[in-house]
């Protein structure tokens, strides 16, 4: 065990955390399982928000709206068309992605404060907007669903099944998010946050990356929304009040603080990483920073 590199220790830590997460539902009551499920779902939404606000520097105070889109997509698909619950998560994410990109287009022209203002307004307008389409959304009553049961071959109860489902999605999106942020795209996102003008000068397509960041961020939050709709078996306009969006941003500030400016600028400029800045735009995809770098680069 002594011979493990820091990377190895980290992998071991991740494996231990996953093992603990797998064992957890058998150690606590059903109600706590449900709460842990919700915590993981919020973690997925926070990953989405952090990608946008933390890594790309675009402030969003309105991610509750994307959470609502995901939740309602799942609920309407199940309620109106009887789609199996597990098939509702991809369309929920996809629709959120499309709307996120569409919203990201005007956001390109808005900076800092004004983007915060627009997104906060979006959060305020969401519940009313949902109430308007009452033939689809069930109005203020919302839509009542039944909690999905585990497949027959798996001897777990509903709450535990939802827990494992959320855990699986959580691991999947964090793995994907980590790879995304380590890739050329991730470095472009951070570069745009730290210095948009130099990023443009270095050939980063700012508009493309910013709208994509908005889309991917909305996608993750939408997926979380769909999972939340399944887990609580209920969606209603008032669950998506502005305070949902605000708790997201609070969560993002408290828990998921993004790499600071100093660390990331070290990553993008240092010669100690053997990644010369001039190569930046043309580097191939994949794990280019590699494990040979000091930890401060990753």
């Amino acid at each position: 065990m002594v011979g493990l590199s820091s990377d190895g220790w980290r992998r071991l830590g991740v494996l231990a955390a996953i093992a603990a997460a797998l064992a957890l539902p058998w150690l606590v009551s059903n109600y706590h399982v449900f709460q842990f499920t919700l915590a993981m779902i919020y973690a997925i939404a926070l990953l989405g928000l952090n990608l946008l606000t933390g890594y790309n520097g675009q402030i969003s105070l309105g991610h509750g709206a994307f959470f609502a889109i995901g939740g309602y997509t799942a609920a309407i698909l199940i309620h109106r068309w009887g789609v199996p619950y597990y098939l509702t998560i991809p369309p929920a994410g996809l629709l959120s992605f499309v709307i996120g990109v569409l919203f990201g287009l005007p956001a390109l022209r808005l900076e800092g404060l004004y983007l915060a203002l627009v997104t906060l307004s979006m959060a305020v307008a969401t519940p009313q907007f949902l109430k308007y389409f009452d033939s689809w959304s069930g109005g203020s009553q919302g839509i009542l669903l039944t909690k999905p049961a585990a497949p027959g071959w798996l001897p777990v109860g509903t709450d535990r099944w939802l827990y494992y489902l959320s855990l699986a999605v959580l691991i999947l999106v964090f793995w994907a998010g980590r790879n995304l942020l380590r890739s050329r795209t991730g470095r472009a996102l951070v570069a745009i946050r730290d210095h948009p003008i130099s990023a443009t000068a270095m050939g980063v397509n700012t508009s493309l990356y910013k709208t994509t960041a908005f889309g991917v961020s909305a996608l993750l939050t939408g997926v979380a929304g769909a999972l939340a709709a399944l887990a609580t078996a209920f969606v209603a306009p008032d669950s998506f009040s502005p305070f949902l969006s605000i708790s997201f941003i609070v969560g993002s500030v408290v828990a998921a603080s993004p790499p600071s400016r100093v660390r990331s600028s070290a990553a993008s400029s240092s010669s100690s990483c053997r990644t010369s800045p001039t190569k930046f735009p043309t580097r191939p995809r994949g794990r280019s920073t590699g494990s040979s770098c000091p930890a401060s680069c990753t």
Binding site: T53, G57, I59, L61, P106, R109, L110, G112, L113, Y114, A116, L117, V118, L120, S121, M122, V124, A125, Q128, F129, K131, Y132, I197, S241, P242, F243, I246, I249, V250, V253
Partner: protein
């Protein structure tokens, strides 16, 4: 035609409230270049203070004056204690502080006064005037707002303190060199904004009823108003507020269902920001690279 005129007049009344809150936003924006997202919640909290006084049997207008004074002090205190440390912080940190304030006020109000919707008395009664054209409360709201705006105008135009505050907002360095205490001017600006917000809250509470989430919609309209008039122009904010109020009423009556009003306001905000970010009366901001 009569209904149209009626709608326009009552739109002016709500517009006057939006104008006050938008003016509060613009005042803080002028001094600090940031938008106070907690302005609506601060106004809501002030309204609760007024409500408390009224419940305790204090006559309405005395409660009004007391509340405005308390809000002023509260605004000054918030600037000194909470805003000052982040004065030169990045935008994201400032936004987070404002959001924190919003949450604090909202939940403190919920904690102290509960989330139950309360009725708030209107000092002007509700008698129809001029052949049912306008109610006395609507006329009262317009009147009070006009008085507040006139006072503010006179203050900033003719008093030494008002001059000093404008100087501090326009050019802090030079203002400091001629002996103006810029930090305190900002604090007084916050106090004034809080006081104006309190007036807006008290005026709108009889219509919307009082609860901790009362102001979120109003704040959205105030954003729209401030941006429409140009966030760098106090006069523009007032005009913007009145226009937004009238538009809200007309569009809500004739074009779209009530549920979509906020969505339309959101669309207006986005369109203004994308097409003409400086608003109708604002100065165009030029950023140096």
């Amino acid at each position: 035609m009569e209904q149209l005129l009626q709608q326009v007049l009552s739109g002016l009344a709500t517009g006057a409230v939006y104008a006050s809150l938008a003016l509060a936003l613009v005042m803080i924006h002028q001094a600090t270049e940031s938008v106070n997202f907690a302005q609506g919640e601060m106004a809501m909290f002030s309204t609760y203070i007024a409500w408390m006084f009224v419940q305790a049997g204090v006559p309405f207008w005395i409660a009004f004056v007391l509340t405005v004074a308390i809000s002023f002090l509260g605004g000054v205190l918030i600037e000194r204690v909470l805003i000052r440390p982040v004065e030169s912080a990045p935008v994201l940190s400032q936004v987070i502080v404002f959001i924190g304030l919003l949450v604090i006020f909202n939940s403190t109000a919920g904690w102290i006064f509960t989330y139950t919707v309360q009725e708030f008395p209107s000092p002007f009664g509700d008698t129809p005037l001029f052949g049912d054209m306008i109610t006395s409360s609507e006329l009262g709201v317009i009147g009070v707002t006009l008085v507040v705006l006139a006072l503010l105008y006179l203050f900033f135009r003719f008093t030494p303190l008002g001059f000093a505050m404008r100087a501090a907002a326009q050019n802090p360095e030079s203002a400091r060199l001629v002996g103006i205490r810029v930090g305190w001017m900002l604090a007084i600006g916050w106090g004034l904004a809080a006081a104006v917000g309190a007036v807006a809250g008290i005026m709108v509470a009889p219509v919307l009823f009082l609860d901790p989430n009362m102001m979120s919609g109003v704040l959205l309209y105030a954003f729209a108003a401030a941006l429409l008039g140009g966030i760098s122009s106090p006069g523009g904010a007032v005009v913007g507020g009145l226009v937004v109020g009238v538009l809200e009423n007309l569009v809500g009556t004739y074009l779209i269902p009530t549920e979509l009003k906020l969505t339309v306001a959101l669309a207006v905000i986005i369109i203004i920001l994308v097409v003409k970010p400086s608003g109708l009366f604002g100065t165009v901001m030029v950023k140096r690279v």
